[in-house]
Symmetry: C2
Subunit: 174 residues, 2 copies
């Protein structure tokens, strides 16, 4: 399957690297979509530097992708300051396509207004924001609700990867 990984500066290093590598090892195609094609973006912990944005949001459409990966850190909050990433994320929910988001990833759901129809988890501070917005939030290492997989933090990455790969193996769950 062809997966869009939305990414900009300030991402949490392992929350990008480990799911990205796991998806590719499972023979999915992963395209890094960001604010500017060719931009080099860095993780905020300094372990992942110079990751290349392959496509800008205005060069792709959600239709060409089968699923969406949203790493955490400060990347989601920076992305949601722009309209194109917000519209891009909303399109995956509208089409019931697989979405996997970890840590601060669900901040994009708040701005896109796509937090209402799925049970989810997130980084603990974002759990607060989601609950205040009326979302159905639980504090668990991974939550799968139909086409949505969410996790809280780097320690949850193995469970996050396991359930994301499972969702992509069984698209009829979506």
């Amino acid at each position: 399957m062809k997966i869009a990984c939305v990414l900009t500066n300030g991402f949490e290093d392992s929350e990008f690297r480990q799911p990205y590598d796991a998806l590719r090892q499972a023979e999915h195609e992963v395209v890094i979509v960001g604010l500017e094609a060719g931009q080099k973006v860095d993780g905020y912990k300094g372990m992942e530097q110079g990751v290349t944005v392959e496509k800008a949001f205005d060069e792709v459409t959600p239709n060409e992708f089968d699923g969406l990966l949203i790493p955490g850190g400060y990347s989601p909050d920076r992305l949601r300051a722009h309209q194109a990433p917000v519209d891009f994320v909303r399109a995956f929910f509208d089409a019931d396509k697989p979405v996997a988001a970890i840590c601060h990833g669900p901040q994009l759901f708040l701005t896109a207004g796509t937090f209402r129809d799925h049970r989810m988890t997130a980084w603990k501070t974002i759990q607060d924001d989601l609950r205040l917005a009326g979302a159905d939030v639980v504090d668990e290492e991974v939550v799968v609700d139909r086409n949505l997989v969410t996790s809280r933090q780097p320690q949850d990455i193995p469970a996050f990867i396991r359930e994301t790969l499972q969702l992509l193996r069984v698209p009829s769950r979506a």
Copy 2:
């Protein structure tokens, strides 16, 4: 007056430096309160590095301060992952003491539950979170509502400083 400036790594450089300097130039005492006394913290833009945390939250009480300054960037979200900063912020609201927050600063109000009784502004993505939580949010360079001064972004700093200094000159507005 004695002002607590709550700060940790990832703050927005100018949103700390300029209000901090302006308060001191106006002969207010400003104490940098953070997660660990003696810690050196950095702005995420690299212009302010090695700012020393003077007091940890467990070494101070809100009672010893006359007001609160919350710079933006990623510092507020990191602080609100801990209970002590959240309780510290809430105490200033409970006592109707002056609070000045810019950019991501109001993220602390979401977790502290102190966003309901004042009109405010914030960085545009945090405006989304505040609106979804039911706060009274406007998109203006500075909003003063009784003891609370809020602004959106670095460009608003002159207005933010002007209204914060005015609030501290006229504590009866609180």
